[in-house]
């Protein structure tokens, strides 16, 4: 067998192994059938679709502005728009609910959709921005010369950026379908909350089958629907010029500031009571094993996911198997974390009581994001760069590390941060897979927010933010150091 074929076979073995918990889970589903709660399923769908709609309206509109206009603090505001994705919707909501005013009493589906939609606006924002920056600059200039602003937006800009908008909507809907914390906080049931609560009571995977099957089929259908627009938005052709030339429009900064402002308000909601309490609340900040474990777990998992997902995408980068690999990774990412957790528990039972390490569970779920990140970045490299690298007589590993991958370091570092952020803010895998007594910062924050004074919650939130920054720094440093060290 040729070396390339061996590596490709290894990739597919790895893909199959990472799906093993789902197979174990599906194997148990027929054993003890109950009934689907249609009310909870309907709530979940309405919540997901309404929230995704809010996310697209906010995120894609902001991306159209940021992609075509130049305004004061554009880079800073673009980063601020992406910030909410660094923490789960519940984190931002808990901060906002500590502010004085009517927010404390918000309840039900509609406010929940607004909050969750806003906090996931970065998903359509980043994807639409990527799609806008792929529009040929001259095609947009032609529209500027020939068409008024309304027609230009409706007939040229929005249709050309639709892959990003569509992928953003579908991904936001998938993320909201698997969300359990926001429905708990806003007092309504969804299929995901049913799965989490019923499994925590019974530890019987067969008993929750009627909830798991429709949820799984829905997210997989949405994931398949998202595949095409997502790949269209991410996998661009290599080009010299990057998107439309931005023209000045200072007022646009106000729009982005307004959309990004709840982040600052949420942080103020956390920190103001803690600051007001002087020393009392701060003394309770954990600077111990919990913080270290939280950071280390997120960073190591992100590095491993980037290494494995990136290696898989690199091996298959020019083969027809690339699309199948990216689709597999995307679909595994779409599966709700709660279902993953239960799958790992079922797999452990099949293997005689084995407990899956949390790092393994995270990597198996998130390697697809790294594969997508590498494929997206690689598609932007000129084909001639790779051809030139192939003429250099060095080993394939050295060629990859020294010649081909270093230009991709920023993209891999970015995807590493994204994966680390998702793991850092995870609730479902940690709450179901960690041994009794083990803690993580985000779990502690949720628990504390239920009954502790605002000052204590605020002080812990400050610790979470600090640990989050350390996590982000280390997550970036790993791939960056490996790829730039050789140069």
């Amino acid at each position: 067998m040729r070396k390339g074929h061996r590596a490709a076979s290894l990739v597919w073995v790895g893909v199959c192994l990472s799906a093993a918990p789902l197979v174990a889970m599906v194997g148990r589903l027929g054993s003890n059938a109950g009934r689907l709660d249609m009310g909870a399923f309907g709530n979940g769908l309405v919540f997901a679709l309404a929230g995704a709609g809010v996310a697209v309206v906010l995120g894609s509109s902001a991306a159209l502005l940021a992609g075509t206009l130049d305004f004061p603090f554009r880079r800073l505001l673009t980063a601020a728009m992406a910030l909410p994705i660094a923490a789960p919707p519940a984190f931002w909501w808990i901060g906002l609910s500590h502010l004085p005013g009517p927010l404390r009493t918000a309840h039900g589906l509609l406010p929940a959709s607004l909050v969750a939609g806003w906090s996931l606006a970065p998903v359509p924002f980043l994807l639409t921005l990527a799609a806008v920056r792929e529009i040929p600059g001259a095609a947009y200039d032609a529209a500027r010369v020939a068409l008024g602003p309304g027609v230009r937006l409706r007939r040229v800009l929005i249709p050309l950026a639709r892959s990003g908008t569509a992928a953003g909507f579908l991904l936001a809907a998938i993320l909201l379908l698997r969300e359990s914390e926001i429905p708990f906080l806003f007092g309504f049931r969804t299929t995901t909350t049913e799965i989490v609560t019923q499994f925590a009571r019974s530890f019987d995977a067969g008993g929750i089958a009627p909830h798991v099957v429709p949820l799984l089929l829905t997210v997989l259908a949405l994931g398949l629907a998202a595949r095409r627009p997502l790949l269209a938005a991410l996998l661009a052709g290599p080009r010299g010029k990057r998107g439309p030339a931005r023209h000045p429009a200072p007022a646009a900064s106000v729009v982005l500031l307004v959309v990004a402002a709840p982040c600052l308000l949420a942080l103020a909601g956390y920190l103001a009571p803690a600051v007001a309490s002087r020393a009392g609340a701060w003394l309770r900040i954990p600077a111990d094993a919990t913080a270290v474990a939280t950071v280390a777990e997120a960073v190591v998992s992100a590095w491993l996911a980037v290494f494995l997902g990136g290696a898989a995408a690199y091996v298959l980068r020019s083969s027809p198997g690339r699309a199948a690999l990216l689709t597999s990774g995307l679909l595994l990412f779409c599966v709700p974390a709660a279902i993953w957790s239960i799958g790992w528990i079922e797999l452990g039972q099949l293997l005689g009581g084995w407990t899956a390490p949390l790092v393994l569970a995270h990597v198996a779920r998130l390697w697809g994001l790294a594969a997508l990140g590498l494929a997206a970045a690689h598609s932007r490299l000129p084909g001639s760069l790779e051809q030139a690298a192939r003429l250099v007589p060095v080993s394939p590993m050295r060629r990859a590390l020294v010649l081909v991958l270093p230009p991709l370091a920023p993209s891999l570092a970015a995807v590493s941060v994204l994966i680390a952020a998702l793991i850092f803010s995870d609730r479902d895998l940690a709450s179901l897979l960690l041994p009794p007594g083990a803690e993580r910062l985000m779990l502690d924050l949720y628990l504390l927010s239920a009954n502790a004074p605002a000052a204590a919650v605020g002080a812990l939130a400050a610790a979470v933010l600090l640990a989050g920054l350390v996590t982000a720094f280390l997550a970036v440093a790993g791939p960056w150091a490996v790829l730039r060290w050789h140069v």
């Binding site: 200039d141 032609a142 529209a143 020939a146 027609v151 007939r155």
Partner: protein, 229 residues
């Protein structure tokens, strides 16, 4: 007929003057060829006339209308300048059919929906694309794409027609046909037609007036021979 007057036009890019005090008058209803080496600033000049590039200083006027004036703080939005532009890479909108590309521009120029459609069909027919109205750019050959770009540029009844090396990527025979088409259509433009090229054949066959861009300055030339062609 309206002349295009460019006066003292300066465009800075990364601290370097791409255009430096460029001054010229381009006569209405005539084809002016703009000649110059790569990187001389030819596309930048077209961008400044169209409003896509903001000059640092100078004035651009068509007839009595000021399009840009750094001293008067005037900068008319690109879509209000009534300019037809054929871009070097044609810049066709990939998602729209040929008819829709032209109809949209005609409608944006003030035609009602029915008239815009009729005009689009006529324009496509005039450039030899009759029967291909429902095709998207990707379904047209290189020469057909050039014709579509020309039809789209003319659909908005422009006062000025700007062409940035539009025929650089087609074969010789197609290029000769397209030159003939441009000679036929450009007299319909009340203002000047400004044509950027590197091709001596374009200069010989199309130029009624010649401008050379050298060191950021616009220099009028009387004949192709003055360019050493």
């Amino acid at each position: 007929m309206s002349d295009l007057a460019i006066q003292g036009l300066t465009v800075m890019r990364s601290g370097r003057a791409v255009l430096r005090d460029a001054t010229a008058v381009l006569r209405g209803a005539r084809r002016t060829v703009l000649w110059g080496p790569s990187g001389a600033g030819k596309s930048t000049l077209l961008g400044a006339i169209a409003g896509l590039v903001e000059p640092t200083a100078g004035t651009i006027r068509i007839g009595e209308d000021v399009l840009f004036s750094s001293s008067g703080l005037v900068s008319v939005a690109p879509h209000l300048r009534r300019i037809g532009f054929v871009f070097q890479d044609l810049a066709l909108w990939p998602h729209l059919r040929a008819l829709e590309q032209v109809r949209l521009v005609a409608a944006a120029a003030g035609e009602n929906d029915g008239d815009a459609r009729v005009k689009a069909v006529e324009s496509l027919s005039a450039v030899g694309l009759g029967g291909l109205e429902r095709r998207r750019p990707g379904e047209l050959s290189g020469g057909e794409q050039q014709r579509l770009a020309l039809a789209r540029a003319l659909a908005g009844r422009p006062e000025i027609l700007l062409l940035d090396e539009p025929f650089s990527s087609v074969d010789g025979a197609t290029r000769r046909t397209l030159r003939a088409l441009l000679r036929e259509l450009s007299p319909r433009i009340p203002g000047p037609t400004l044509y950027v090229t590197h091709d001596p054949g374009d200069v010989r066959e199309l130029a009624e007036d010649i401008l050379e861009l050298e060191g950021g300055l616009l220099i009028p030339r009387g004949s192709p021979e003055e360019l050493g062609l």
